[in-house]
Symmetry: C2
């Protein structure tokens, strides 16, 4: 790789990160608000000429969440020739940048992250002034094609629900009803509690902890964690 320029970015290739968190029984995503606007987008970034794409995705998501060693899943490449209306985006964000600083078109590699909401310290980047969680069922009209990217990420997570380590979305210890609610918020429909309990108990994926959850109105429920 003799003629690489290590600090340059690969032109026209980007990463968009759909950072999923689970909070107050809802699935949420982390969004950024652009400076001096009410316009929101997904966090994203670029890949260095000699950098692994997975490493670049870790870097982008880590910068927004403060978390290292995140669970990330590449889910789709967004490569349409005109992914969005560029003049509309310029109007919405005010576009205080020189046109030459922007590439006319990028192909974006979508990654989703599954993070423990309670451990994240959201941080804006140099183009934005706020970073916040938004519930999936109350998203604003995002910049670029980012609503579509979230739709595809959610469809992908749903499809692979039984194979993905969704325990990353939960705190270290959780109850079965909390785990059921996480499944329901990803799937978008309710599950039968008895069947869900039976399925989880028969799967061997969970380990019951010695302590119970206290301070609930019901009989103190058992706490579980996923086996390694």
């Amino acid at each position: 790789m003799e003629n690489g320029h290590t600090n340059e970015y690969i032109r026209a290739l980007s990463i968009d990160g759909v950072i999923f968190g689970f909070h107050e029984n809802e699935l949420k995503v982390l969004l950024l608000r652009w400076k001096n606007t009410d316009e929101w987008s997904l966090p994203g970034g670029f890949i260095r000429v000699l950098e692994s794409v997975d490493t670049a995705a870790q870097r982008v998501v880590q910068e927004r969440t403060g978390l290292t060693h995140l669970y990330l899943q590449q889910f789709h490449v967004f490569g349409d020739a005109e992914r969005y209306d560029w003049s509309e985006v310029k109007r919405r964000i005010g576009f205080p940048y020189s046109e030459g600083d922007w590439w006319p078109r990028t192909v974006s590699i979508g990654y989703y992250a599954l993070v423990d909401h309670s451990k994240v310290a959201p941080m804006p980047d140099q183009l934005t002034e706020a970073c916040a969680w938004w519930a999936l069922d109350a998203l604003p009209n995002l910049l670029f094609d980012h609503n579509q990217i979230i739709d595809v990420a959610l469809a992908s997570l749903r499809k692979d629900l039984t194979e993905q380590p969704i325990g990353h979305l939960l705190p270290d210890a959780f109850t079965i009803p909390e785990l059921q609610r996480l499944h329901e918020t990803i799937l978008g429909y309710e599950l039968d509690a008895r069947n869900f309990y039976k399925k989880m108990m028969s799967s061997d994926a969970l380990e019951r902890l010695p302590e119970r959850r206290t301070g609930t109105p019901h009989k103190a429920p058992f706490l579980y964690r996923f086996r390694e």
Copy 2:
């Protein structure tokens, strides 16, 4: 997209195509032999600055197969910083090109195609002198990371077997045993014929044709096709 250069290619981004065909009861892939060598690779190509990635993939696969409107599925991005040993590749292909004509590193978007083997007229490109079908269980040691790319493509096809239109791999009319053999060659293990027949009949995906297959040693079996 005012400052695009329509005939240029996006630097450092490529497409690799895993073209699956089904012939003589085996799953095969289309490979290219490099000029004046015994070295084989997958067909691949680049994306124009203002071209849709899906369109570029159609173009690449169409050039090798002569087929238009192919069924293509994007399955993975290969983005490691060092995907393969470049000096080994240079040694194996003789490298008759100027170093400046090659990009030090490409990120490759993998697509697989499902094609009807009988309709394909394999064609080499300007760097290669042969284009041929290879059975998946007898692949040579390919150039670049192409053995790995085929492994990931096959794993992806297996995972989505019930959702992918694998009828594209079959001729317009086929028997149930032929369809079973296709499932078996993708999955890598044998299926019970009675269960397979029952499952196919109950799925409503198939339509029985008026004619039967003749010229077989057994009672003439019914022919089927997939419903639209």
